[in-house]
Symmetry: C2
Subunit: 224 residues, 2 copies
């Protein structure tokens, strides 16, 4: 395994309003890794983005000593493997079965849970009832997995917590803009409590984009 | 890390014609792990499938000493981590960057490359031209990644090779049924050569379902 050193170059190509891109900022901050951040204009992608992620041309991209990696979940595991000295805030547990469960929930978040909530927040009137029903089902599935734990990772923030960044912070903004009640204390008390623990964690709090700016950004998108 | 022992129970819930399900058979055979296989009727799912994969209710599922894991790529990494004695046919390399690249390609296969080829093979006349173009682009991306290696894993079959199971074997059957020329020796000489190396690898050859049965199965599906 590689280990961290003082003279390495760590660079993130990201988009400030993206919860996927923000996952990488949060992970590096949790590990205490300094990095340079380049904000991408997705309407006019940089030559670096096209060079470092030629297959998908999407953010986030991590460039570490010239080696580029795309896809946020792949980047998160890389960060966990590279900056793992003294079990430095490990994102994944050691046991293979618990590692597999964490990977399963990350994948399920990206493939099923986040799209369901996103669709509900942007649905038109006609499709809204069904989309909301699916979003609520998805949140129930996630809350059932959380059980009575403080974080999905147990006592500390793990891979699934970072992957659930969208649920922890973005959902409250998007549901307000859409006029929906999805993740509320009444409907999902445990998951709501998790979201509060999550956004108030000192490193996470520091690494999230300002709520008012996100609100304005998505409000403007909603009008289009 | 857990290690293998003689009195453990390994069970796979699968569907013989699914390239995703077959990934798990191949991985266990490559590792030399004996297992019990249960064929699922997806039109009438077993109580075990609903119990072991309540979120997605899909094959494949691995049940190891009572612990269940779903999602084929997650299962493959689990198998690689559990049965890793003496670096026993490791699916992933040791270096974090090369591990990240392998994970990136597995994800890109499932999210982009396989759907593009599947869509082309099942496209109607109207959408066919565009779908075929996208499938050919996807195959080009994959061939560019293979470069001049024997396998995606280098000299031995790795995680990406197993994830590309559909490309190695299923595509030749589906394109014949659809009357398309996608993965041919003329269009993609290196990738075609890889597919031949892959299906002729002694363990893979032994673990693939019979071609004539797959052909009949998908031919019947195409008529519906």
């Amino acid at each position: 395994m590689a280990s961290s050193s003082d003279n390495e170059e760590v660079r993130v190509l990201g988009k400030w309003a993206s919860p996927f891109s923000n996952r990488i900022d949060l992970a590096l901050k949790l590990k205490g890794v300094p990095y340079n951040y380049s904000e991408e204009d997705l309407a006019n992608k940089s030559l670096d983005l096209l060079k470092y992620n030629p297959v998908h041309k999407k953010v986030p991209v991590l460039v570490h000593n010239g080696n580029s990696i795309a896809e946020s979940l792949v980047i998160l595991e890389y960060i966990d493997e590279v900056w793992n000295n003294n079990n430095n805030h490990a994102f994944l547990p050691q046991d293979p079965y618990h590692r597999a469960l964490a990977r399963f929930w990350c994948k399920t978040l990206d493939d099923k849970i986040l799209p369901a909530i996103w669709n509900a927040c942007w649905s038109d009137e006609k499709g809204r009832e069904k989309a909301v029903e699916e979003a609520l089902e998805a949140l129930k599935i996630l809350q059932d997995e959380l059980k009575d734990k403080k974080f999905f990772g147990g006592e500390t923030i793990g891979l699934v917590d970072i992957a659930a960044n969208f649920i922890g912070y973005w959902v409250s903004i998007l549901q307000e803009i859409a006029g929906l009640e999805l993740l509320t204390i009444e409907k999902f008390p445990k998951l709501y409590k998790w979201s509060q623990e999550y956004i108030n964690h000192p490193v996470i709090k520091e690494g999230l984009p300002p709520r008012d700016e996100l609100f304005a950004f998505f409000k403007a998108s909603a009008k289009k």
